[in-house]
């Protein structure tokens, strides 16, 4: 496997002070090829990105300041005044740029579909809106549905990425996977930046030993034809369920072939991103290096219009990552630190942002540092996108709707009653930004952990679809009884 060895300094130079306008590599006319009739920019594509970090939040440090609603109508506060953790958006990326005017903080959304379940239920329900008590979802996630509906003329319908730790579970299961295809099967994200680079930007990587581009495409074409023949012949000899295995292989294989060819064509006019090199395996967790690499790949994939829908998950539910690079006090895992805290949201009192000392003192500094770091990472993703501008002056972050979520609201409580969601970008795609949109949450009587929201996150998922210009069947997504309609406060 080949690696790009450009170091961080060179990358900073490209995307930093001396390169405030990084030219889009596909010019305006290619947008017109989408079917738009003009190059006025009204047909500029819009991109959807789902981001995931694990184990919920420290509630009193989260979000932004603003009064709680007293009715089921959302209370909107603008401009944003962040609390501690999200202040990372005021100093985003290596140039410490203030991106708070790109953000909408959503406060008070309940992931009703996760019911009284724990991490697994929250992970399964997060992007599917489907009821789960901990089992994998049985239907598609919102990115799958949006990309299918868009049917965009891009090489890939969807690019799922993961910043994976060497400590992460090596399983393909409900806690490690957040995306599902139309059949309800897990979608596997790219976990190796070098491999993702090689696949997504094929002509950019050095040819493998003994073959050049001509040879590779010659062989692929010949072999694909032969494989299809043999797959058809084999299927005819099998009983139904066995036949479906090979049918599935054939369908996915042919789809990948088409994507590869389209990616090669796209890559001809696109420069691969640079990614930092990873230290030798076995010495340390590559997680922080991958956390630099994957956003670069994500941004360039969107900039080259390789896809309209992408996602990036940092580790997975119950994250077992030990964030040693944040300091020597980091000796335990994210999941373990997240268990240090109030075990029910009612313990926070009637206002979760004015928690009594008996609650706030339970949190450990390590968890605060971890959450600040992830906020910096997400702000960095936004910053990287903002550095790409079209020839017509459009900003990629304006054209991208980023939705950031987690599988819980509070780590120790294992609840979903006020689950943190943040929208970033999309100002050029009809979203209103620089606001806190706060929904009413009923925090129950003190003795019981029975807080409940009045607005469910299914409405956020339908909002994402609407923002992408996609109509959903019946106007609902996931468990339909949890849908009341898109969140209108999100739209300009």
């Amino acid at each position: 496997m080949n690696r790009r060895d450009l170091d961080r300094r060179r990358f900073l130079k490209l995307v930093g002070a001396s390169a405030l306008t990084y030219p889009f590599l596909r010019g305006v006319p290619s947008y017109a090829a989408d079917g738009g009739s003009s190059s006025s920019g009204s047909t500029d594509p819009v991109y959807l990105v789902l981001l995931f970090t694990s184990c919920g939040t420290i509630r009193y440090r989260w979000g932004a300041q603003g009064p709680a609603p007293t009715t089921t109508t959302a209370a909107v506060t603008s401009p944003l005044v962040f609390r501690d953790t999200l202040s990372a958006f005021t100093k985003a990326g290596p140039m410490q740029v203030d991106l708070s005017n790109q953000v909408t903080v959503l406060d008070g959304l309940q992931v009703k579909a996760a019911g009284s379940g724990s991490h697994e239920a929250g992970m399964a329900a997060l992007w599917t809106g489907l009821t789960s008590s901990g089992n994998p979802a049985t239907g598609p996630s919102i990115d799958t549905v949006v990309s299918a509906a868009l049917n965009a003329p891009t090489p890939y319908p969807n690019i799922p990425l993961m910043v994976q730790s060497s400590a992460d579970y090596q399983t393909r299961s409900v806690d490690t996977r957040m995306l599902y295809d139309t059949m309800g099967n897990f979608v596997d994200p790219y976990t190796d930046p070098s491999a993702a680079l090689q696949t997504l930007f094929p002509t950019a990587s050095a040819p493998t030993t003994g073959s050049g581009p001509n040879k590779k495409s010659f062989l692929r074409q010949k072999i694909a034809a032969q494989l299809n023949q043999d797959l058809t012949a084999l299927q005819a000899r099998l009983c139904t369920e066995d036949r479906q295995q090979l049918q599935n292989l054939q369908a996915v294989w042919n789809q990948v072939e088409m994507q590869t060819q389209a990616a090669a064509a796209a890559a001809a006019s696109c420069t691969a991103p640079t990614i930092p090199s990873v230290p030798d395996a076995g010495t340390s967790d590559p997680f922080p290096v991958y956390a630099q690499a994957m956003p670069n790949i994500l941004a360039m994939a969107l900039a080259c219009d390789l896809t309209r829908v992408a996602s990036l998950q940092y580790s997975h539910a119950l994250s077992p990552v030990t964030h040693t690079w944040l300091g020597s006090s980091q000796t335990s895992t994210h999941h373990i630190y997240s268990h240090q805290g109030p075990t029910w949201i009612g313990a926070l009192g009637s206002d979760p942002y004015n928690e009594p000392a008996s609650a706030t003192s339970q949190y450990v500094q390590q968890l605060m540092d971890i959450e600040s770091w992830y906020a910096q990472q997400v702000a960095g993703v936004a910053y990287t996108l903002s550095q790409f501008k079209t020839a017509s002056g459009k900003n990629l972050l304006d054209q991208t709707i980023i939705c950031w979520g987690s599988e819980l609201d509070m780590g120790a409580a294992h609840t979903h009653d006020n689950t943190p969601f943040v929208l970033i970008g999309g100002g050029g795609a009809g979203l209103k930004t620089n606001q806190l949109v706060r929904f009413l949450v009923n925090y129950g009587p003190n003795a019981q952990n029975n807080a409940s929201g009045t607005r469910f996150h299914n409405d956020l998922l339908t909002t994402l679809a609407q923002a992408m210009g996609v109509s959903l069947p019946g106007g609902t997504f996931g468990t339909s009884s949890y849908c009341t309609g898109p969140i209108r406060e999100v739209f300009a």
Binding site: G117, Q170, R172, M183, T199, G210, L227, D230, H414
Partner: protein, 607 residues
């Protein structure tokens, strides 16, 4: 939808869950507890009969001797371990490309044997297959020496390519090379040579073979047959099964030759091959793969433990070494012709110097000196090459008291009687426990005012819906109370305390019981892990369960009623050999379930 199973199988799982007794009202009395007014103790019969299918009930099910009966073996993808072993044996490649592939999905029936990959492929999996195949093929032809090491002939011509395809491709396909595919591979070679050169032609063939479903999937059709429900496997299909089970790889030349010359027809012939294969070093990966899954050691090398465990946190190799200890214990037991009893009860374990320090590390442990016997050289990339020597370790008995098992079935600060009991219940007794209901709180991370780790579990014993399932796990796990969250010995209950309370840490009570889930199951009380290990080893349920786990592993599927006669014959051979582990493996390959398959009709529902 590819994840769905045939309806018969789905109804099984439902039956198993409902009769597992976990919905019943029962109260459990622990030894020493007041049972007044509480119904039932270990000696009274549970109210449900044994289930008709899953688990050790298979060994009591009715078997009508006569024509073989076999359950359907679904088509499956090869696992990552198999992919790496196969390209090692086919191309001499040791880069282990499958390490980067998406992992297998566990079966959903409570058995987690990851040789099985029944779920559909994703785009990423296919991309990985393609890229790996292209890289492996390009490397294989990249120099004259690599090329000549895989070709059966030295002349670079079509005749040599034909010979290569006939032998190498057939071996990669584990015998599933037919005339049509052979011809198309040769045509691919010819067309590629015409455009490029001979090495590229071979590269094309290798790429096509490694991307073929005949390589990536285990395909079986059986001998041509007129009818019936069961057919014998074709000779090369038996060769394939032997190689997959005992080596997690492709057959070697000897096996292929035996298949081609009809020398895999009798049970004796098949078993002779198995014996030969077990003595081959290639058996090591398969044995290690079984042990890793059986004892659930996949994440042990990277377990996080609280900072109070200084040894664990300062020695990053410890987790890997503990795994290697357990893997070596199992594989040596097999290779030495040892018995299940020894595996489960021996006070000795294969450890290296680092582990001797860990096991002898203070806190009531005396220093441990490595044994005097011959060492086993273990090469672990995470550790290096070290010698593991059979060494007596005090307070321990058998594989269930290995540090690896105890540390994995534990939390970061506290040991877990629930997890340890669950491992014994599911993996050693073959009783499935359904997942917990939603909405339960997270496990305690400290003992707090409760006093003892044991008392923390009392919440499970006095209320529903907890006790109906936890009674089958917790009282077993309590027997391991003298081992902390890292698997190290502790003389008293220091869990969760920073400093000893006045009067010292509480004493540990490691008494417990094995509560039978069904009428005919093993039932006992015990005091401590050594007592538990000896009693488990002597229980028929344990012995049957071990045979069943190997049976499942060999066939890469879960058992059904159709397998009753095969399973019972296997157990007969196992029991009459004095529970020699190697005998189970050899008995399985001689069974009907291994040598026959269900007759499937193309286009119809799989039976």
């Amino acid at each position: 939808m590819l994840r769905s199973r045939p309806s018969a199988r789905a109804s099984w799982v439902a039956v198993a869950l409902s009769v597992a007794g976990c919905a019943e009202e029962r109260h459990l009395a622990l030894p020493g507890q007041d049972t007044t007014g509480v119904g039932g103790d270990a000696s009274s019969a549970p109210v449900t009969e044994a289930p008709a299918s899953i688990g050790v009930g298979l060994f009591a099910a009715s078997c009508t001797p006569g024509a073989p009966t076999v359950d359907w073996s679904p088509v499956r993808r090869i696992s990552r371990v198999e992919y790496d072993d196969m390209v090692r044996d086919l191309l001499g490649d040791t880069t282990q490309p499958a390490n980067g592939f998406p992992p297998e999905s566990p079966l959903t029936t409570g058995v987690n044997f990851e040789a099985n990959t029944y779920t559909g492929v994703s785009s990423l999996i296919v991309q990985d297959y393609e890229q790996a195949a292209e890289t492996l093929a390009a490397t294989a032809v990249s120099s004259a020496s690599t090329l000549s090491s895989i070709l059966p002939c030295q002349t670079q011509d079509a005749a040599c390519a034909t010979q290569f395809i006939g032998s190498w491709a057939n071996r990669a396909f584990r015998g599933q090379l037919d005339a049509t595919v052979q011809a198309s591979l040769l045509a691919l070679f010819d067309e590629t040579v015409a455009e490029f050169d001979f090495p590229t032609g071979i590269q094309a063939v290798i790429t096509a073979v490694l991307e073929s479903p005949r390589f990536l999937y285990v395909l079986e059709f059986g001998e041509p047959s007129e009818g019936g429900t069961v057919v014998p496997l074709a000779p090369y299909e038996i060769a394939a099964r032997l190689a997959l089970f005992l080596w997690r790889s492709v057959p070697d030349a000897t096996l292929m030759q035996a298949a081609q010359s009809g020398q895999l027809a009798t049970v004796a012939e098949v078993q002779a091959q198995a014996t030969r294969m077990l003595a081959d070093p290639k058996a090591q990966t398969a044995l290690n793969d079984f042990t890793t899954q059986w004892m659930q050691l996949q994440s042990t090398p990277v377990l996080g433990k609280d900072t109070q465990f200084a040894f664990w946190n300062s020695d990053s190799k410890l987790g890997s070494e503990l795994v290697d200890e357990t893997l070596t214990n199992f594989s040596q037991e097999v290779l030495d012709g040892g018995a299940l009893t020894d595996l489960l009860t021996s006070p000795s374990s294969y450890i290296n110097g680092d582990l001797a320090s860990f096991y002898g590390n203070g806190n009531g442990n005396s220093a441990i000196t490595l044994g005097q016997g011959a060492g086993v050289s273990v090469d672990d990339p995470a550790v290096g090459t070290t010698e593991y020597v059979r060494t007596t370790i005090p307070n321990r008995a058998g594989i269930l008291t290995n540090g690896s098992v105890l540390a994995t079935q534990a939390h970061t600060t506290l040991p877990s009687s629930v997890l340890r009991g669950k491992l014994v219940r599911e993996q050693v007794l073959c009783d499935a426990i359904p997942p917990p209901p939603p909405g339960i709180p997270a496990p305690a991370t400290s003992v707090g005012d409760a006093g003892t780790t044991r008392s923390v579990l009392e919440a499970h014993f006095n209320k529903q819906p907890c006790v109906s399932c936890h009674q089958y796990m917790d009282p077993i796990g309590l027997g391991f109370g003298f081992f902390d969250a890292t698997g190290a010995y502790q003389p008293d209950d220091a869990n969760g305390f920073q400093t000893a309370p006045p009067g010292g840490f509480p004493a540990i009570d490691a008494t417990g019981q094995v509560v039978p889930m069904y009428k005919t199951e093993f039932s006992t009380t015990f005091n401590g892990a050594t007592d538990l290990a000896h009693q488990l080893a002597g229980a028929t349920q344990t012995q049957e369960c071990f045979a069943l786990q190997e049976f499942r592993y060999a066939l890469s599927r879960v058992e059904s009623m159709d397998d009753a006669c095969s399973a019972q014959a296997v157990f007969q051979a196992f029991a009459s050999s004095g529970l020699t582990i190697e005998k189970v493996l050899v008995a399985i390959v001689g069974s009907d379930a291994f040598r026959y398959r269900s007759l499937e009709t193309p286009g119809s529902e799989c039976q």
